[in-house]
Protein backbone atom coordinates (compact mmCIF):
# COMPACT_ATOMS: atom_id res chain seq x y z
CA UNK A 1 0.00 0.00 0.00
CA UNK A 2 1.43 3.28 -1.06
CA UNK A 3 -0.86 5.95 0.43
CA UNK A 4 -0.70 6.96 4.08
CA UNK A 5 -3.66 5.48 5.99
CA UNK A 6 -7.01 7.22 5.78
CA UNK A 7 -10.65 6.64 6.61
CA UNK A 8 -13.21 6.34 3.87
CA UNK A 9 -16.78 7.61 3.71
CA UNK A 10 -19.26 7.06 0.91
CA UNK A 11 -22.16 9.45 1.56
CA UNK A 12 -25.34 9.11 -0.46
CA UNK A 13 -26.48 12.74 -0.29
CA UNK A 14 -24.91 16.16 -0.64
CA UNK A 15 -26.00 17.04 2.91
CA UNK A 16 -24.28 13.98 4.29
CA UNK A 17 -21.10 14.67 2.29
CA UNK A 18 -21.00 18.28 3.50
CA UNK A 19 -21.45 17.14 7.09
CA UNK A 20 -18.47 14.78 6.80
CA UNK A 21 -16.40 17.58 5.28
CA UNK A 22 -17.40 19.99 8.05
CA UNK A 23 -16.75 17.47 10.83
CA UNK A 24 -13.29 16.71 9.44
CA UNK A 25 -12.18 20.28 10.13
CA UNK A 26 -10.05 20.50 7.00
CA UNK A 27 -8.69 16.95 7.13
CA UNK A 28 -10.98 15.54 4.47
CA UNK A 29 -10.44 15.28 0.73
CA UNK A 30 -13.16 14.66 -1.81
CA UNK A 31 -12.64 11.84 -4.32
CA UNK A 32 -14.68 11.69 -7.52
CA UNK A 33 -12.85 9.97 -10.38
CA UNK A 34 -9.57 10.03 -8.49
CA UNK A 35 -7.50 10.22 -11.68
CA UNK A 36 -5.38 13.00 -10.20
CA UNK A 37 -5.96 12.41 -6.51
CA UNK A 38 -4.92 8.74 -6.52
CA UNK A 39 -1.42 9.53 -7.86
CA UNK A 40 -1.10 12.27 -5.23
CA UNK A 41 -2.15 9.81 -2.52
CA UNK A 42 0.23 7.14 -3.84
CA UNK A 43 3.08 9.65 -3.85
CA UNK A 44 1.98 10.82 -0.37
CA UNK A 45 1.78 14.37 -1.64
CA UNK A 46 -1.77 14.30 -0.30
CA UNK A 47 -2.40 12.78 3.14
CA UNK A 48 -6.02 13.30 4.14
CA UNK A 49 -7.46 11.79 7.33
CA UNK A 50 -10.60 10.87 5.51
CA UNK A 51 -11.58 10.44 1.89
CA UNK A 52 -15.12 11.46 0.98
CA UNK A 53 -16.24 9.46 -2.07
CA UNK A 54 -19.01 11.32 -3.91
CA UNK A 55 -19.62 8.59 -6.51
CA UNK A 56 -22.59 7.30 -4.53
CA UNK A 57 -24.51 10.58 -4.71
CA UNK A 58 -26.96 10.15 -7.59
CA UNK A 59 -27.81 13.86 -7.80
CA UNK A 60 -24.24 14.80 -8.69
CA UNK A 61 -24.28 12.96 -12.02
CA UNK A 62 -25.71 13.83 -15.40
CA UNK A 63 -26.37 16.71 -17.75
CA UNK A 64 -29.50 18.88 -17.75
CA UNK A 65 -30.67 21.93 -19.62
CA UNK A 66 -32.94 24.63 -18.20
CA UNK A 67 -33.35 28.40 -18.05
CA UNK A 68 -30.76 29.16 -20.69
CA UNK A 69 -28.03 27.12 -19.07
CA UNK A 70 -26.57 23.66 -19.27
CA UNK A 71 -25.71 22.12 -15.97
CA UNK A 72 -23.25 19.27 -15.53
CA UNK A 73 -23.16 17.28 -12.31
CA UNK A 74 -19.58 17.26 -11.07
CA UNK A 75 -19.39 13.47 -10.73
CA UNK A 76 -20.34 12.97 -14.39
CA UNK A 77 -17.66 10.83 -16.03
CA UNK A 78 -15.74 12.57 -18.78
CA UNK A 79 -16.48 9.63 -21.12
CA UNK A 80 -20.22 9.99 -20.46
CA UNK A 81 -20.14 13.75 -21.05
CA UNK A 82 -18.29 13.07 -24.29
CA UNK A 83 -21.22 10.95 -25.52
CA UNK A 84 -23.97 13.22 -24.18
CA UNK A 85 -26.46 14.36 -26.83
CA UNK A 86 -27.37 17.63 -25.03
CA UNK A 87 -23.74 18.66 -24.80
CA UNK A 88 -23.06 17.66 -28.40
CA UNK A 89 -25.88 19.89 -29.57
CA UNK A 90 -25.58 22.87 -27.26
CA UNK A 91 -22.01 22.95 -25.99
CA UNK A 92 -19.80 21.48 -28.71
CA UNK A 93 -16.80 23.52 -27.58
CA UNK A 94 -16.84 21.66 -24.27
CA UNK A 95 -17.15 18.31 -26.03
CA UNK A 96 -14.19 19.10 -28.27
CA UNK A 97 -12.10 20.00 -25.23
CA UNK A 98 -13.22 16.86 -23.39
CA UNK A 99 -11.84 14.68 -26.15
CA UNK A 100 -8.38 15.95 -25.25
CA UNK A 101 -8.58 15.30 -21.50
CA UNK A 102 -6.21 12.50 -20.48
CA UNK A 103 -6.60 9.10 -22.14
CA UNK A 104 -9.47 6.76 -23.01
CA UNK A 105 -8.88 4.83 -19.77
CA UNK A 106 -8.74 7.92 -17.52
CA UNK A 107 -11.76 9.57 -19.17
CA UNK A 108 -13.70 6.41 -18.34
CA UNK A 109 -13.28 7.15 -14.65
CA UNK A 110 -12.28 10.82 -14.43
CA UNK A 111 -15.06 13.35 -13.89
CA UNK A 112 -15.84 16.76 -15.33
CA UNK A 113 -16.16 18.28 -11.87
CA UNK A 114 -12.92 16.77 -10.65
CA UNK A 115 -10.97 18.41 -13.42
CA UNK A 116 -12.80 21.73 -13.02
CA UNK A 117 -12.34 21.76 -9.22
CA UNK A 118 -8.70 20.78 -9.27
CA UNK A 119 -7.56 23.80 -11.26
CA UNK A 120 -4.57 22.40 -13.13
CA UNK A 121 -3.59 25.46 -15.21
CA UNK A 122 -2.64 23.37 -18.26
CA UNK A 123 -5.86 21.33 -18.27
CA UNK A 124 -8.69 21.76 -20.75
CA UNK A 125 -11.74 21.71 -18.42
CA UNK A 126 -10.89 24.74 -16.26
CA UNK A 127 -10.06 26.81 -19.36
CA UNK A 128 -13.29 25.72 -21.05
CA UNK A 129 -15.25 26.77 -17.95
CA UNK A 130 -13.59 30.18 -17.97
CA UNK A 131 -13.93 30.66 -21.75
CA UNK A 132 -17.59 29.68 -21.92
CA UNK A 133 -18.55 31.79 -18.91
CA UNK A 134 -19.47 28.93 -16.57
CA UNK A 135 -20.63 29.35 -13.00
CA UNK A 136 -19.53 26.94 -10.32
CA UNK A 137 -22.03 26.00 -7.64
CA UNK A 138 -20.47 25.30 -4.26
CA UNK A 139 -22.21 23.76 -1.26
CA UNK A 140 -21.28 23.34 2.40
CA UNK A 141 -23.16 23.07 5.68
CA UNK A 142 -23.06 26.86 5.66
CA UNK A 143 -25.15 27.05 2.49
CA UNK A 144 -24.74 27.28 -1.27
CA UNK A 145 -22.91 29.91 -3.27
CA UNK A 146 -22.12 30.43 -6.92
CA UNK A 147 -18.78 31.63 -8.22
CA UNK A 148 -17.91 32.62 -11.77
CA UNK A 149 -15.26 30.30 -13.21
CA UNK A 150 -13.08 33.32 -13.87
CA UNK A 151 -13.04 34.13 -10.16
CA UNK A 152 -12.78 30.52 -9.03
CA UNK A 153 -9.11 29.97 -9.86
CA UNK A 154 -6.42 31.62 -7.75
CA UNK A 155 -3.26 29.82 -8.85
CA UNK A 156 -1.96 26.37 -9.82
CA UNK A 157 -4.26 23.88 -8.03
CA UNK A 158 -5.53 26.77 -5.89
CA UNK A 159 -9.17 27.78 -5.97
CA UNK A 160 -11.62 29.67 -3.78
CA UNK A 161 -12.98 26.33 -2.47
CA UNK A 162 -12.84 26.14 1.33
CA UNK A 163 -11.92 22.79 2.91
CA UNK A 164 -15.53 22.14 3.94
CA UNK A 165 -16.99 22.96 0.52
CA UNK A 166 -18.07 20.68 -2.31
CA UNK A 167 -18.58 21.57 -5.97
CA UNK A 168 -22.18 20.52 -6.63
CA UNK A 169 -22.72 21.77 -10.17
CA UNK A 170 -21.18 23.52 -13.14
CA UNK A 171 -23.51 25.68 -15.22
CA UNK A 172 -22.59 26.87 -18.68
CA UNK A 173 -24.70 29.61 -20.23
CA UNK A 174 -26.21 28.51 -23.51
CA UNK A 175 -24.56 29.57 -26.70
CA UNK A 176 -26.66 30.07 -29.81
CA UNK A 177 -27.19 27.00 -31.94
CA UNK A 178 -24.58 26.66 -34.66
CA UNK A 179 -21.90 28.62 -32.84
CA UNK A 180 -18.33 28.10 -33.86
CA UNK A 181 -15.86 26.10 -31.78
CA UNK A 182 -12.31 27.29 -31.35
CA UNK A 183 -9.88 24.69 -30.07
CA UNK A 184 -6.23 23.90 -30.47
CA UNK A 185 -3.56 22.56 -28.17
CA UNK A 186 0.08 21.68 -28.44
CA UNK A 187 1.23 18.81 -26.21
CA UNK A 188 4.30 16.61 -26.34
CA UNK A 189 2.27 13.40 -26.52
CA UNK A 190 -1.41 12.55 -26.89
CA UNK A 191 -2.99 12.75 -23.46
CA UNK A 192 -0.27 14.88 -21.89
CA UNK A 193 -1.06 18.21 -20.35
CA UNK A 194 -0.80 20.90 -22.98
CA UNK A 195 2.22 23.14 -23.30
CA UNK A 196 -0.11 25.72 -24.79
CA UNK A 197 -3.79 25.50 -25.57
CA UNK A 198 -6.85 27.58 -26.38
CA UNK A 199 -10.54 26.83 -26.25
CA UNK A 200 -13.59 28.93 -26.93
CA UNK A 201 -16.64 29.78 -28.94
CA UNK A 202 -17.78 32.48 -31.37
CA UNK A 203 -21.41 33.28 -32.12
CA UNK A 204 -22.12 34.95 -35.44
CA UNK A 205 -25.07 37.09 -36.46
CA UNK A 206 -25.55 38.51 -39.94
CA UNK A 207 -21.92 38.03 -40.91
CA UNK A 208 -20.52 39.63 -37.77
CA UNK A 209 -19.29 38.29 -34.46
CA UNK A 210 -21.97 38.77 -31.83
CA UNK A 211 -20.34 37.00 -28.92
CA UNK A 212 -16.90 35.61 -28.14
CA UNK A 213 -15.57 33.54 -25.24
CA UNK A 214 -11.96 32.41 -25.45
CA UNK A 215 -9.69 30.91 -22.78
CA UNK A 216 -6.07 29.85 -22.58
CA UNK A 217 -4.57 26.88 -20.76
CA UNK A 218 -0.89 26.33 -20.05
CA UNK A 219 -0.40 30.06 -20.40
CA UNK A 220 -0.18 31.15 -16.78
CA UNK A 221 -0.85 30.15 -13.17
CA UNK A 222 -4.58 29.79 -13.87
CA UNK A 223 -6.75 29.38 -16.94
CA UNK A 224 -6.91 32.82 -18.53
CA UNK A 225 -9.68 34.49 -20.46
CA UNK A 226 -8.53 36.37 -23.55
CA UNK A 227 -10.61 39.46 -22.75
CA UNK A 228 -8.84 41.93 -25.01
CA UNK A 229 -9.12 39.62 -28.00
CA UNK A 230 -12.80 38.99 -27.27
CA UNK A 231 -13.46 42.74 -27.17
CA UNK A 232 -11.59 43.22 -30.44
CA UNK A 233 -13.70 40.55 -32.13
CA UNK A 234 -17.21 41.37 -30.97
CA UNK A 235 -19.14 43.57 -33.38
CA UNK A 236 -16.68 43.02 -36.24
CA UNK A 237 -17.75 41.75 -39.64
CA UNK A 238 -15.86 38.60 -40.62
CA UNK A 239 -14.06 40.34 -43.47
CA UNK A 240 -12.65 43.17 -41.38
CA UNK A 241 -10.80 41.19 -38.73
CA UNK A 242 -7.05 41.64 -38.48
CA UNK A 243 -6.21 38.13 -37.32
CA UNK A 244 -2.60 38.86 -36.44
CA UNK A 245 -3.52 41.88 -34.32
CA UNK A 246 -6.19 39.91 -32.44
CA UNK A 247 -3.70 37.11 -31.75
CA UNK A 248 -1.30 39.71 -30.39
CA UNK A 249 -4.02 40.97 -28.03
CA UNK A 250 -4.90 37.44 -26.99
CA UNK A 251 -1.33 36.72 -25.93
CA UNK A 252 -1.11 40.08 -24.14
CA UNK A 253 -3.55 38.76 -21.53
CA UNK A 254 -1.44 35.68 -20.69
CA UNK A 255 1.27 35.19 -18.07
CA UNK A 256 3.20 32.08 -19.10
CA UNK A 257 6.20 30.83 -17.15
CA UNK A 258 9.37 28.89 -17.86
CA UNK A 259 9.47 25.26 -16.85
CA UNK A 260 11.48 22.26 -17.97
CA UNK A 261 9.09 21.59 -20.84
CA UNK A 262 9.05 25.02 -22.44
CA UNK A 263 10.05 28.62 -21.88
CA UNK A 264 7.58 31.44 -21.45
CA UNK A 265 8.78 32.91 -24.73
CA UNK A 266 8.13 29.63 -26.53
CA UNK A 267 4.62 29.47 -25.10
CA UNK A 268 3.88 33.03 -26.20
CA UNK A 269 5.20 32.36 -29.71
CA UNK A 270 3.26 29.12 -30.09
CA UNK A 271 0.21 30.71 -28.48
CA UNK A 272 0.24 33.57 -30.97
CA UNK A 273 0.55 31.11 -33.87
CA UNK A 274 -2.14 28.67 -32.80
CA UNK A 275 -4.49 31.51 -32.00
CA UNK A 276 -3.98 33.17 -35.37
CA UNK A 277 -4.23 29.90 -37.27
CA UNK A 278 -7.35 28.72 -35.46
CA UNK A 279 -9.08 32.07 -35.91
CA UNK A 280 -8.10 32.32 -39.57
CA UNK A 281 -9.33 28.79 -40.34
CA UNK A 282 -12.59 29.52 -38.58
CA UNK A 283 -13.16 32.80 -40.37
CA UNK A 284 -12.26 31.28 -43.77
CA UNK A 285 -14.76 28.49 -43.29
CA UNK A 286 -17.43 30.88 -42.08
CA UNK A 287 -16.86 33.38 -44.88
CA UNK A 288 -17.02 30.63 -47.49
CA UNK A 289 -20.27 29.24 -46.06
Amino acid sequence: MKPAPFDYARPTSVAEACQVLADAGGGATVIAGGQTLMPLLNLRMSQPFILVDINGIAGLKGVSRADGAIRIGPATRQADALKDATLAQHLPALVTALGHVGHYQTRNRGTVGGSVALGEPAAEMPAAAVALGATIEITSVRGTRSVKAEEFYLGPYMTVLEPDELVTGISYPEWPEGHTVLFREVAQRTGDFALVGMVGALALEAGAIARAGIGWFGMGPTPIRARQAERALVGKALGEIDVQAVAELAVADTAPFDDHHASAEYRRTVGRRIFARTLRETLDIRSAA
Binding site: M1, A4, D7, Y8, G102, H103, Q105
Partner: protein, 157 residues
Amino acid sequence: MSEHKIDLTVNGHRHSATVEARTSLGEFLREGLGYTGTHLACEHGVCGACTVRVDGVAMRSCLMLAVQANGCAITTVEGLAKPDGTLHRVQQALKDNFGLQCGFCTPGVAITLATVLEDNPSATTSEMEEAMSGHICRCTGYQGIRRAIRQLAGEPA
Protein backbone atom coordinates in the same frame (compact mmCIF):
# COMPACT_ATOMS: atom_id res chain seq x y z
CA MET B 1 -7.61 4.07 9.06
CA SER B 2 -10.74 2.18 8.21
CA GLU B 3 -11.46 -1.33 6.99
CA HIS B 4 -14.34 -2.21 4.77
CA LYS B 5 -16.10 -5.36 3.72
CA ILE B 6 -16.52 -5.67 -0.01
CA ASP B 7 -18.21 -8.13 -2.37
CA LEU B 8 -17.32 -8.22 -6.03
CA THR B 9 -16.96 -10.62 -8.93
CA VAL B 10 -13.75 -11.15 -10.83
CA ASN B 11 -13.97 -12.95 -14.18
CA GLY B 12 -17.35 -14.28 -13.06
CA HIS B 13 -16.20 -15.59 -9.66
CA ARG B 14 -17.64 -14.05 -6.52
CA HIS B 15 -15.29 -12.82 -3.83
CA SER B 16 -15.79 -11.25 -0.41
CA ALA B 17 -13.00 -9.62 1.53
CA THR B 18 -12.16 -7.01 4.09
CA VAL B 19 -9.86 -4.29 2.77
CA GLU B 20 -8.08 -1.34 4.22
CA ALA B 21 -9.43 1.87 2.67
CA ARG B 22 -6.08 2.77 1.14
CA THR B 23 -5.68 -0.50 -0.82
CA SER B 24 -5.87 0.11 -4.56
CA LEU B 25 -8.00 -2.18 -6.70
CA GLY B 26 -4.90 -3.34 -8.56
CA GLU B 27 -3.10 -4.28 -5.39
CA PHE B 28 -6.16 -6.05 -4.04
CA LEU B 29 -6.57 -8.08 -7.22
CA ARG B 30 -2.94 -9.18 -7.10
CA GLU B 31 -2.17 -9.55 -3.42
CA GLY B 32 -5.65 -10.13 -2.02
CA LEU B 33 -7.11 -12.44 -4.66
CA GLY B 34 -4.09 -13.73 -6.57
CA TYR B 35 -5.02 -12.34 -10.00
CA THR B 36 -1.42 -11.56 -10.76
CA GLY B 37 -2.11 -11.13 -14.46
CA THR B 38 -2.88 -7.50 -13.68
CA HIS B 39 0.48 -5.73 -13.56
CA LEU B 40 1.34 -2.73 -11.46
CA ALA B 41 4.23 -0.57 -12.56
CA CYS B 42 4.07 3.16 -12.03
CA GLU B 43 1.06 3.14 -9.69
CA HIS B 44 0.29 6.71 -10.56
CA GLY B 45 -1.73 6.45 -13.70
CA VAL B 46 0.95 6.87 -16.32
CA CYS B 47 1.71 3.47 -17.84
CA GLY B 48 -1.59 1.61 -18.29
CA ALA B 49 -0.18 -1.82 -17.33
CA CYS B 50 -2.79 -2.13 -14.57
CA THR B 51 -5.83 -1.58 -16.83
CA VAL B 52 -8.82 -3.78 -15.97
CA ARG B 53 -12.48 -3.72 -16.90
CA VAL B 54 -14.85 -2.49 -14.20
CA ASP B 55 -18.54 -3.02 -15.02
CA GLY B 56 -17.62 -3.23 -18.68
CA VAL B 57 -15.44 -0.11 -18.74
CA ALA B 58 -11.64 -0.12 -19.08
CA MET B 59 -9.85 1.85 -16.36
CA ARG B 60 -6.64 1.98 -14.41
CA SER B 61 -6.77 -0.27 -11.35
CA CYS B 62 -4.02 1.73 -9.60
CA LEU B 63 -6.26 4.81 -9.71
CA MET B 64 -9.21 3.23 -7.99
CA LEU B 65 -9.60 1.91 -4.46
CA ALA B 66 -10.61 -1.67 -3.79
CA VAL B 67 -13.39 -0.37 -1.53
CA GLN B 68 -14.78 1.55 -4.51
CA ALA B 69 -15.14 -1.72 -6.43
CA ASN B 70 -17.70 -3.01 -3.94
CA GLY B 71 -20.54 -4.55 -5.96
CA CYS B 72 -18.64 -4.32 -9.25
CA ALA B 73 -17.92 -6.94 -11.90
CA ILE B 74 -14.24 -6.93 -12.81
CA THR B 75 -12.55 -8.52 -15.79
CA THR B 76 -8.81 -9.04 -15.69
CA VAL B 77 -6.58 -10.46 -18.41
CA GLU B 78 -7.16 -13.93 -16.92
CA GLY B 79 -10.79 -13.54 -17.94
CA LEU B 80 -10.17 -12.91 -21.64
CA ALA B 81 -9.33 -16.39 -22.91
CA LYS B 82 -12.00 -19.11 -23.01
CA PRO B 83 -11.95 -21.66 -20.16
CA ASP B 84 -10.51 -24.23 -22.60
CA GLY B 85 -7.53 -21.96 -23.20
CA THR B 86 -8.56 -20.59 -26.59
CA LEU B 87 -7.11 -17.10 -26.74
CA HIS B 88 -9.28 -14.01 -27.09
CA ARG B 89 -8.88 -12.62 -30.60
CA VAL B 90 -6.99 -9.66 -29.19
CA GLN B 91 -4.52 -11.99 -27.49
CA GLN B 92 -4.21 -14.01 -30.69
CA ALA B 93 -3.55 -10.89 -32.75
CA LEU B 94 -0.87 -9.70 -30.32
CA LYS B 95 0.73 -13.14 -30.45
CA ASP B 96 0.56 -13.40 -34.25
CA ASN B 97 2.20 -10.03 -34.76
CA PHE B 98 4.89 -10.00 -32.08
CA GLY B 99 2.81 -7.40 -30.26
CA LEU B 100 4.62 -8.23 -27.04
CA GLN B 101 8.11 -9.04 -25.88
CA CYS B 102 8.55 -9.05 -22.11
CA GLY B 103 4.79 -8.94 -21.71
CA PHE B 104 4.70 -6.55 -18.81
CA CYS B 105 2.44 -4.01 -20.49
CA THR B 106 0.40 -6.64 -22.33
CA PRO B 107 -2.40 -7.36 -19.81
CA GLY B 108 -3.41 -3.71 -19.89
CA VAL B 109 -3.09 -3.45 -23.66
CA ALA B 110 -5.20 -6.58 -24.14
CA ILE B 111 -7.93 -5.34 -21.81
CA THR B 112 -8.10 -1.96 -23.54
CA LEU B 113 -8.28 -3.41 -27.05
CA ALA B 114 -10.78 -6.09 -26.01
CA THR B 115 -13.00 -3.44 -24.43
CA VAL B 116 -12.85 -1.07 -27.39
CA LEU B 117 -13.84 -3.96 -29.66
CA GLU B 118 -16.57 -5.11 -27.31
CA ASP B 119 -18.12 -1.64 -27.37
CA ASN B 120 -17.70 -1.39 -31.13
CA PRO B 121 -16.86 -4.61 -32.98
CA SER B 122 -16.06 -2.61 -36.11
CA ALA B 123 -13.68 -0.20 -34.36
CA THR B 124 -11.19 1.26 -36.80
CA THR B 125 -7.42 1.19 -36.60
CA SER B 126 -7.33 4.83 -35.58
CA GLU B 127 -9.94 4.35 -32.85
CA MET B 128 -7.91 1.51 -31.36
CA GLU B 129 -4.68 3.46 -31.70
CA GLU B 130 -6.28 6.44 -29.97
CA ALA B 131 -7.13 4.25 -26.97
CA MET B 132 -3.55 2.93 -27.01
CA SER B 133 -2.26 6.40 -26.03
CA GLY B 134 -3.01 5.29 -22.47
CA HIS B 135 -0.36 2.56 -22.58
CA ILE B 136 3.40 2.61 -22.44
CA CYS B 137 5.37 -0.32 -23.86
CA ARG B 138 9.11 -0.32 -23.34
CA CYS B 139 9.87 -3.29 -25.59
CA THR B 140 8.05 -3.45 -28.88
CA GLY B 141 8.46 0.08 -30.19
CA TYR B 142 4.69 -0.27 -30.72
CA GLN B 143 5.02 -1.54 -34.30
CA GLY B 144 4.00 -5.09 -33.39
CA ILE B 145 1.04 -3.75 -31.43
CA ARG B 146 0.03 -1.59 -34.38
CA ARG B 147 0.22 -4.60 -36.71
CA ALA B 148 -1.99 -6.51 -34.28
CA ILE B 149 -4.45 -3.62 -34.33
CA ARG B 150 -4.53 -3.62 -38.12
CA GLN B 151 -5.25 -7.35 -38.06
CA LEU B 152 -8.07 -6.76 -35.57
CA ALA B 153 -9.51 -4.07 -37.82
CA GLY B 154 -9.38 -6.47 -40.76
CA GLU B 155 -6.77 -4.44 -42.61
CA PRO B 156 -3.69 -5.75 -44.36
CA ALA B 157 -0.76 -5.94 -41.92
